[in-house]
Amino acid sequence: MRIERGPKKSRSGAIRASLLGAIGVGVAMLVAACGGSSGPSQAVARAGNPKACSSLNLYTWEGEAPASLLKPFEQQYGVPVKVSYITSGAESLAKMAAGGAKQYDVIFDGSEDTLPMKEAGVIKPLDTSKFPEYSKLFPFTTKTFEVGGKVYTLSEDWGKNPFIYSTNVLKTPPTSWAALWSPQLKGQVSLWEDVSLIWIGASVLGYDKNPEQLFHLSQAQLTAIKNKMLQLKGNVRTVWNSGGDLIQLFATHEVGAAQGWSFIYNELKAKHEPVAEAKLADMGAQGWAEGASLSSDISANCEAAAYEFLNWTIAPKGAAALAASSGYTPSNPGAATYMSKKLIEQTGLNNPKAFLGSAIFKQALADPQAYNQTMEEIIAGLH
């Protein structure tokens, strides 16, 4: 779950020309579709005219709706895409449950949000046969969005939350989260105010050996993690809760080590800050994948338009446009064809497995309240 996204960048006009091919395939698929009216629980796209959709309402993260992604679609179909921005996964779930399902057509959510959204009845299953590129997407990302054998979210991009450290503070590259407990880091650590700090303790205690277990931790395990994390007292200087916050903390030398985001790391490197990303053998559940879902209340015409739009977002050129804007790794490896060498390396698309490393993708928590309370108790106990 991220709050800030990378800056927008201008896209080349070549995307517009290439859009025709991707949309053409989508239109052909749509014409071939002959499903009648279907309920929200059925993974069948209803017949509809995409051009008859008055506007496609997109609910996504900042930096993930660049003009280079939206304009070609809008020009092709004459359907304006209206964008609203998410600040957190929980906020999007709250909004959707409070009537947002009628307001938004396409929602970007993380792998950990798909199950809650499905349970809340605000998204509907997707007909993956409508996506010609679907089989080309990284399987390790697409499977994170399956619930009960159905796909509710179309995988768009993925990444991880790395261990960032100052090379001025730590001379030897850390190989485990356990390095955070090092006396060298006294008063130098910043923790993200997020439940994912629990997985740092879980990794150090070895609970990540069974990835599934990380999302179903018992109260005894959560207590053990809390006790372990409280031993960080003295090392933890502050908690952070926005990308800009951590960037400033590193840039002003207030902290020397933190669990961060790839976006933060890239920004710090771009500012020539002396930081490095640790290659850990015990990353734990610091991986994330996100994608697009369809609102359960979407109209037939807008659903048809949404399928066209989603096809474009995962097509190599569309996915490359999205990656250039967000800085995150596209789920379609074919996007590399249209990405710069620097961006390919930055997003790890040249070696995705190595880029992901030992990180495990987040899933929905069995008991979010227990995790949240443990996180709050850890933070409160660290002073």
Binding site: E91, E119, A120, V195, V236, T238, Q248, N372, E376
Partner: protein, 311 residues
């Protein structure tokens, strides 16, 4: 029109209606919704109205929440005292010492205090940080050998920042009531031999009590509900009750507990808001009592003088 002219209650209704509608939409309904949510429960990511007090039991039976509540109230009180203590001399100086262009001074103070909320916090973080101005001065004059990290990311830093933020809210009501203190009263007190401090304590303070109380309440409410300063300049243990409420919505997906924290916060704020009317009542009672005592005090010599005259 005749109907309206005929019935005074209808005229009153028409006059009150805009404010009542505004209040209903922006105050009554949201608060009612928060209270309703606080009595509900989350089941499979759905809000279920159970009309239960379980969420309040969760809050008051867990030291995580009660400690944060006590921390926020204590910090709010400290900030209120500091904000008033700093605003009083400033308002007094502008009201009684500045002879010309008083409102330019007032405007300058208010504008300086009304910097962007986030900008203020980040500014203080930079000022107090390892690479900050204060560390630079302390190392420059040889007080410190190396910059210290102890100036920021602690409870004291949160109080400093919140006091700065709250000062604009405490300064304005204090300045406004000071404007209504007749200068001749101070002059009269001086003529009768009262020193500067006695003038302030016995003449000025009783007249500005309401403004001071309102300023203190504003400062308390701002600090009590503040979410950002503890996050951006506090240590992990500085997080207050507002941060826990946000966490229930953001991470815990337990909106009813978050709403219950919100309701508890509303009650605390309402109690704080009761202070100004209570203060007014108390100050009126004190004034009345003093007046009565003064009358009695004056009555005794008069009677004695009468006796002397009769003799």
């Amino acid at each position: 029109m005749t109907l309206i002219r005929k019935h005074r209650w209808l005229q009153a209704m028409i006059l009150i209606a805009p404010a009542a509608i505004w209040g209903a939409f922006f105050i009554v309904f949201p608060v009612f919704d928060a209270v309703k949510m606080s009595l509900s429960q989350m089941q499979y990511y759905h809000l279920v109205s159970n009309w239960t007090l379980e969420n309040f039991h969760t809050i008051f039976s867990n030291s995580l929440y009660t400690d944060a509540l006590v921390r926020s109230v204590t910090r709010g009180l400290i900030v209120a005292v500091l904000a008033v203590a700093l605003s009083l001399p400033l308002a007094h100086f502008i009201s009684f010492r500045v002879k010309r262009h008083q409102f330019v001074w007032f405007g300058a103070v208010v504008v300086a205090l009304w910097l962007g909320y986030l900008l203020c916090i980040i500014g203080w973080r930079l000022l107090l940080g390892r690479d900050g101005v204060i560390n630079g001065i302390l190392t420059g004059i040889g007080v410190l050998k190396h910059p210290t990290g102890g100036l920021v990311f602690n409870s004291v830093a949160v109080i400093i920042v919140q006091t700065h933020l709250a000062m604009s809210f405490s300064f304005i009501p204090i300045f406004v009531v000071m404007q209504r203190v007749p200068h001749r009263l101070m002059q009269a007190a001086a003529d009768l031999g009262a020193g500067r401090w006695r003038q302030i304590i016995e003449v000025e303070m009783p007249l500005i009590g309401v403004g001071v109380t309102i300023g203190a309440v504003f400062a308390f409410v701002l600090s009590f509900g503040d979410y950002l300063a503890p996050t951006l300049v506090g240590d992990p243990g500085s997080l207050g009750i507002a941060n826990l409420a946000a966490g229930e919505f953001e991470h815990g997906l337990d909106w009813p507990v978050g709403a219950a924290i919100g309701v508890v916060m509303i009650v605390v704020v309402l109690i704080a808001l009761m202070l100004p009317p209570v203060t007014i009542a108390i100050s009126r009672w004190i004034s009345r009592t003093r007046l009565e005592r003064g009358v009695q005090h004056l009555a005794v010599p008069t009677a004695a003088a009468g006796d002397v005259a009769a003799r």
